[in-house]
Symmetry: D2
Subunit: 270 residues, 4 copies
């Protein structure tokens, strides 16, 4: 399926402000990036690097005044990877590949080492078969028990906060899901990007878990995990994959996102 | 100076337990690792990998019963790097090398994005010259205001906890120092290893900050930062550089550490 | 300066052929990639990875028949970096950064370990000041003594061949220059990309050397090294940065390249 | 099996000479490094880094006079990995993992892109089943047709030279084997280390190929591939894994190697 994502971000800048952006798509297996653009208005030079997780990062200085950052991407993507039957099982920690080990450790917003989160994980999923069944129970529990609402959480809200307050947005749903999976020694990471099925057009966050020897996509915001996605970045939590990290005095004025599927029918992919 | 470190860790294991160890020395500039050993009793095979920060990690399964892990290292090391005069200054975020950027972001135990820690950083160091002077103010403030005491903090204690409770061990002193530096946009990381000047023989933790275009060592536990050190690992905080991360049912019974200088006089190093 | 590059490559494919492409621009400091596209006609899915040198690689299968690969890039670029005064000097091998060490070793097409090439290097540049002066002597010597001609060298031609036959294209000029620099223990690498100053529109190859603590651009094809460039890839030699590496039965039918400067005047850059 | 390797290298140094050594063991899955040492006499400081292939590299300056470098390692190792039945098959280039792709490209001493080597590969193995059978045919052909003799090849000898001269040492056997495998699009790399079965005690070189989804060990010097091995380094060819690369005026005076198995019976390994 051909899919297009576009985001327009406007800042009011009161003093030149250094930023790191993660707004360009990941270059990886499973999504063919056919076209993409990254424009800053007014025009300023930017440099790029690839971070430890393979994400593309853009560094630049926001100049004074109103600044607009527009990113566009057009990609050939697959639908969300199907869960095979029988469902993927739990991988023993000793059998995890080295490069997956980072994703069972606690991180800034996913304090999976806390007893309170560990207890919650066992309460929700302790009686289910380790692996897919546990993850899906966690996902469903969050979908049913956490209220989706803008404006009650912020950039410092953690999984523990969300477990207690039971309210938040996709970022918070995802942090809680990741923490509960890690508490069960299931590697879990945060992915941000475009999803075509989203009601309100926005950049979205979901989680991936390593079960049965592969990474699978789960989305606690959706009734069932589905849709076409373009991945922008993934990492341990929002500290790793922040859309924009700023160092200075600038205010986000607006974020406008568009997502479109460009074909009616999926084409064959190998 | 030739320096020797040795640690003996004993576990009581009640069920086979997967672990990741970081107990072997870093291989890097500034410390010449002449000899080292890593023994597990009873003997079990282990595999090794190098993590994202360049640390050596050992993976294996602790078998049932009492298990002893002994590591030894003998290295040629320099004394703690001197602060040059004039002192190293603040590097603008826009001028930081890409590979340093990870160390100004918040992490599991260093919540530098919290207003409370940011306020404390500005209160302590806001009136000092950005760079070395600010870092040294933070280091001294922690040394003078945080009480060093075993047994009051644990593996989930964060910099925010320490800022409030004003008590802890080297790990806690270090997390707080790192958080306050990052709140001032100064890159800071945690280093663990052997220090010859330590009163009670133990593995030690300190912090490094990136000022004036280089990493410098600071130690909030010491009256002044000094001594010979062998670095084992460095990372964003204790989640990255845990001596042992375990997945299962094992109890640390004892940790015994020895550190010795093997020569009376430093030899010339280039 | 805003600069645009575009390449259209047509293949006749007689059996499905696996390829690795390096046709998309590097994401790095010094060039801001504003827009770019990568299209295969007929459309096939492709995956991407970043290689050991930080280059973007595209992997896919060329289907039977005529296949056209079109890449486009629009970037904000600086002119070729000026040589400062005093000129950058030779860096002692012991003082080279670790990540530069790969570029003083011999490689597939740059056999800097051969006595014949070493002798040539000393004959050309042995009496000049180590560093910039030696490199510029080598560059000028190649420009003056190697005849630029299409069709006499091929993809297996080495620096030794070119030193003997004294004829070739940009790839051959560059391989010889790299080999002679490395024979003098000066790190040198191959860069491919777009150059606005080229007479015949083509993808171009030049070399970079590490002197005075930085990488500088040199071009043995030009009278003097100058112009605006968009870098696609760099590595040890053409084995690392081949535009297309194919595994099977396909014939390159045509390569069409366009390079345009989009503004008349350079704008200020930081 | 516990295994011990030791090498003592003596140099006569006429002017301070920068070197890069690869003499310490790889830290990886399948070999547990229990003890190891690296001593330079007279003592000089050295720094270490990990190269692009994960090998440990030591950098230092050989001082004037006679210098002795002694390395020792004691490891728990498995016997050479058995070939399973049915034998591992050829992996289509399109299905190779990204990180394996480097090993089908030509390199300094393995010019697999040359028609002459490609012809030889097809002549030897063209009629055999792709994968294990082809590799084993190549290995046996080299064992039977290349004469093992010291002193006729040197550090610049390539696979093409060996294919023509049919004489050489383990380094040359290995380069030829790698080149012929790559000519058949089978990823192949060079490994150096200790082998217990070697007649004359020396550091040894062999090759590994990626078939059936894994790396397997092959040794063209042996009648059949067998024995216990400690891996020091692996890479594309001897340019990547040179025991010592020197930049200056020093003469290798002697190399003395000892390899011992420390137990009579293999112990169980998982």
């Amino acid at each position: 399926m051909k899919m297009k994502g576009r985001s327009v971000i406007t800042y009011n800048v009161y003093a030149p402000t250094n930023v790191i952006c993660m707004l360009r798509p990941r270059r990886q297996n499973g999504q063919s990036i056919i076209e993409e653009g990254f424009n800053i208005e007014p025009s300023v030079p930017f440099s790029e690097y690839t971070d430890l997780y393979g994400n593309a990062c853009q560094r630049f200085v926001l100049p004074n005044g109103q600044v607009t950052i527009t990113t566009e991407v057009q990609a050939q993507v697959n639908p969300t990877k199907q869960i095979p039957s029988p469902v993927p099982g739990y991988i023993l920690v000793g059998d995890l590949p080295d490069e997956v080990m980072y994703y069972i450790l606690p991180s800034r917003y996913c304090q999976s080492d806390l007893q309170e989160l560990s207890n919650l994980a066992f309460q929700i999923a302790g009686n289910f078969v380790p692996g897919y069944d546990q993850v899906e129970e966690i996902r469903k529990w969050i979908h049913q028990n956490i209220k989706y609402q803008y404006g009650v959480s912020d950039s410092t809200t953690t999984a523990l906060d969300t477990a207690r307050n039971r309210i938040g947005v996709c970022r918070d749903f995802t942090h809680l899901a990741i923490s509960l999976c890690r508490a069960l020694s299931i590697p879990a990471r945060m992915t941000v990007g475009y999803l075509d099925k989203l009601q309100e057009m926005d950049l979205h966050a979901w989680f991936e878990v390593y079960i049965g020897g592969e990474w699978y996509t789960f989305d606690a915001v959706q009734e069932v995990t589905e849709g076409y996605r373009i991945e922008i970045a993934h990492g341990r939590d929002a500290a790793d994959v922040a859309m924009i990290t700023q160092f200075g005095n600038a205010t986000l004025q607006s974020l406008h996102v568009e997502v479109n599927l460009l074909e009616n029918e999926p084409v064959s992919q190998n």
